[in-house]
Subunit: 379 residues, 4 copies
């Protein structure tokens, strides 16, 4: 693990997600850019001192010298955005599979370079777009793919939050500070941090790429350098239309990622804050309430569930589904097996998703600077 030392937040969540299924064991880490802090953090986690490294470079070099079976099987990256590409690049170039926090990189240019490195290495690269790990998101995707909704016409996807409604970065809040800083966060604020989750979710469920978009970004809080709110018109390949909006100034909203998809024959509605419910809507028939854990769900949803019906699962289980799939892919690689295309272990976000996310961010920023002019999203 790179990053995730004392005081960091997302690192702890990664560790819970990784440990959940007993398939992954944390064996080493470079938890902080401060070597002592890294060692202390590793000790908190019961790691032996010699596997707690001062820097990721040191870790990659040292681990590469260990025999297979002893050295780390893959490396995960949980640092701020600007520090995603360098360790990913070095790990891949030294023979390690990589699982990285999103976004894949700091810029589209970096993302394309990384894609080339992944391709050349022949190694596995995963991205923790964890919202696609929810069982009912998988069910939704499967229903669309099976044609149950008919041809898709409209998508409404939203990710409102309220936590940056005031100038929180002016206080000592670490999460707010780096996310609102162009040097550490990238070209976009809100739209990069959470808008990309909305984009990823929409494309994952519908299987349709966004072809062009018109974006109106705003920084509402005085003194803020990056957008804290964005409204987008979407056009998808094949003719579907849509709306995407995300916000960090929508007072009282938590992480209300949600999506509605309408086809010629049916519709879907899912809310991340009640993730165990999927509304399925029909022409001339009552809406149905799909719930996790029930026998009427498809294979993808079923294999993403650990508990019986109405024992609600949450964010950490969805997160763990990404880890479990990636671990399955790594194990298959170690065992020399080839995964079937629909194997659950194949169902994790990959470098292509990372490149699309960065292309999305750049298209949004470009469109907004051109007063919401239509801008192609090409990858």
């Amino acid at each position: 693990m790179v990053g995730g030392g004392r005081g960091a937040f997302i690192g702890a969540l990664h560790r819970i997600a990784a440990a959940m299924d007993g398939q992954i064991e944390l064996v080493c880490g470079a938890f902080s850019s401060d070597p002592q802090r890294s060692k202390d953090s590793g000790a908190d986690l019961f790691l032996p001192a010699n596997r707690c490294y001062g820097t990721y470079e040191e870790m990659i070099r040292a681990e590469a010298k260990l025999p297979l079976g002893e050295r780390m099987d893959f490396m995960c990256i949980v640092t701020p955005n600007f520090m995603h590409f360098p360790p990913a690049k070095m790990a891949l170039e030294n023979g390690f599979h990589v699982l990285s926090d999103k976004p894949a990189t700091f810029s589209l240019d970096e993302a394309k370079k990384l894609a080339a490195i992944v391709k050349k290495s022949g190694l596995l690269y995963g991205l923790t777009h964890n919202y696609t790990g929810y069982p009912l998101v998988k069910e939704a995707r499967a229903m669309v793919a099976a044609g149950k909704l008919g041809k898709i016409r409209k998508v409404v996807v939203e990710y409102p939050q309220g936590w940056l409604a005031t100038r929180l970065e002016a206080s000592d809040q670490k999460q707010a500070a780096w996310r609102t800083d162009p040097k550490r966060s990238g070209a976009a604020g809100c739209i990069g941090d959470i808008g990309t989750h909305a984009e990823n979710l929409a494309e994952y469920i519908t299987g349709l790429p966004i072809s062009e978009l018109a974006a109106d970004l705003t920084a509402f809080v005085k003194g803020r350098k990056l957008d804290d709110d964005g409204n987008l018109l979407l056009r998808f390949k094949g003719g579907a239309k849509g709306v995407l909006h995300s916000s960090q100034i929508s007072v009282g909203e938590e992480n209300n990622l949600n999506i509605r998809v309408y086809g010629e024959k049916g519709g879907l509605e899912w809310h991340q804050n009640e993730p165990n419910t999927l509304l399925v809507k029909w022409l001339d028939q009552p809406t149905q309430i799909f719930r996790t854990g029930n026998g009427y769900l498809g294979k993808a949803a079923a294999s993403a569930t650990r508990t019986p019906p109405s024992h609600p699962e949450g964010y950490l289980e969805a997160f763990a589904n990404v880890y479990r799939a990636f671990a399955g892919a790594v194990r298959a690689r170690l065992d020399g097996k080839k995964l079937a295309k629909d194997d659950p272990a194949n169902d994790y976000p990959k470098i292509e998703d990372g490149v699309r996310g960065m292309a999305f961010i750049e298209a949004v920023v470009k469109s907004s600077k051109a007063n919401a002019a239509w801008t192609k999203l090409e990858t």
Copy 2:
């Protein structure tokens, strides 16, 4: 009443709304363009034969000859869109107050003419944008006006329906037929029929006019001549931003008009399909559930309610609130009284709202034809 004869739908709802509070009595009507059908319809309603007219022209002329107290006090119009302006014009020019179904007219040009006629006549003109009659919509408006949310930053307003997801107009469905016909409906389909309700609701609650918009309209159903779906970016006077989308192809949606408003200090959320609940959101405090009929509500909401808490009120009561207010304004006029500005009888949609609605439709159509170019909404 003009229109609303046998087989018509909205006319019956107008009559229920008008009768609800015992303040308004139906005394005459030209219920159909077919004189016999008009007379038969009047008989169904227990009206004397001599007050059931063959045409609205006949009615206005005949009623104008009756003495005050005997003749109709005001005329209401419940015909399809293209037949709103002519009877409104003639009634006003013959001394009758007018309450009209929305939209006010067939085109913006007509609406401006009508505004001039209203002004010249000195008479009252009301418009049944009935969704603003809901008690909690009034509470929302009052909270914004009192500054409880702080300066408004963002508005998300939606009106999805699904009933036109198939080509219903190809069958004999009367409601679908005229709404999808440019000659009877006007320049817009979905956005005129229900998008205007969303526009009106957003401006009513926030008190902020939309200054410009970018619109992407689509006719998804093959062979349909008018839009059945529209996605809009909004900019409000004073800097607020927003999204408006309405649809008649969102399978499984009924009349899910809903709105979210976010200010610097708080947020609001209201759904027409559960209209007795208003969510009020705060920085760092739990969201509150405001419910109709409770003592903590303000004057406007309280006076718009007829039943105790959690005896749910609905669409007809909201509709009746428009009628009751208009009747109060007419009575004050008959009594020679001047209403205080915040008198509930003053709280009904007026010709200015009608002009804005038509300006909205024209701006949306213009923007969409220009590939969603930003277009001013001026009135």
Copy 3:
């Protein structure tokens, strides 16, 4: 109308409900036990002075002398409980149909007498157990009757309120005062006022009579003479079991009448505070959301609806459905027609429901006094 003068509450709701469909016109009243107040109240309602009577006795006598077509067609009673029986008795004995607020009478003994009078008179008697007027309550009843749920096993019915959580009757609150006074309310407080609605709803939907019950009543507020909370175990004819609880001290609850019914094959759930939604539950299939106004509903629900889908209807419309049915039954009688058994005009609560309600109250009070001993509910 008997009762419902100035300052009264329920009378106004009755008048709205009666007027809603244009089938019923208020022609006379004895609105108050104070003759002057009665006349003033009538004037408020635009009634001629000679039809505003000082007492109900005077009204019945005077109206009986008027020719048919001029005199009132039926009499409705909206007084407190102790004043239900006397006017009902006198009206029936003088040839008038009666529509009464619930409960039918002050005691079971009176109810049985009234049933005998109704029978002897051959006249119509209706009771405004208005919650059974909701369209989806009718749908629920129809589904059970059609066997869609299979044999019924369990019923959970609740009516919690919170408005009497403090000693409101000690202030000048008129509604609280008579409801907590044994002389005006009867043997029971909460269980009589709202528990009977729960009992009526459960029997209406399931078609199963409660055969015996065990009741634990409490008066939580110090100094209160009647129960303000009650918990009951139920046994139904045929073997179903159930729970009924109602309360007026459940802080924060409004009028949350709700019911769940489970059979061998399916289940139902309905809440009065969101009355346009009915959840229908199945073995091994997703729960369905039935909504008013949709084409998939049965005849009884459809005929009880006035507006299109998701134009929410509420308490007043449900109330009006009782009035409309009763007016239809009166009109059929006047026209000498016989109603088909499943005619919507036959679907209103009758004297048998009134007797059952009083039997329920007496059984509950008896059981509670015997420390919740099982007590038969016989009628």
Copy 4:
């Protein structure tokens, strides 16, 4: 770990819960009554063969011989009900702390014996009544304890399920088979399996013991030997009243454990199937929606949360909270530290809760056999 081998269900959930926080490592197990199956199951979990024992007796004896630090720190029991007491007894008598699945034992008599053994041993005993691990259940408890609701008057607690609505035990369903078998499940079916969770939740939140109850149990499914549905009236120490019902034949219900508590000043409502929401109700003020992860929550709720607001947590996290607390208590013991009374590590269900659970079951069965006679619940 005792139990939880291949094919078992609850064992896997225990392991996830135990592993979640990186504080507990599985070191040995007797996973099955079949020694080979036990070894195979251990191998699946990457355990060394010499720590996979054929029986719990063998495991306890062998582990007891290992030095501290190497041997297991505590033993957890995840077998069917009849197999809870014997391993717990032996482990305690050999110096091991015990964490057991609920119910504590097969009978009240056994439970009292176990309590004596725990007391004598001076060791720690925990019980995975995991629903009390939810953050908002802890918030509810804290609010009651702080007097925010005033004196408690009424409790409504429910646990309906539908999965045993048909005779599932007649098929090969392992979970259904032992739960409906008196020899393996005990004196009660539904009321023991899930009714005890409702009892435990009500007492945990209110801090009030149930003093007496009247119970009506039913076995609705033909041929079933134990109750599959139960309705109870409750009386709490201090005068509060309540209703408890649980069911396994409520078609369409999943694990809808839920509770409402009303005091003199406020009320609470919580549903296990949406566990991140707690409704808080007030006299004359709008209901508030408390959500996990927010800053306005108290210490107990905050320390039971791993993710930011609206990253929903679920059943496994609640379960893990019990494990984390117990691990904290064990560590404090190993470290020779004494925990403060309000230390989160003290907040797990103990043997006293186990004894109460068994006393509840026996009182319910006794009452039901006496036709729902009031029966004391004493421990």
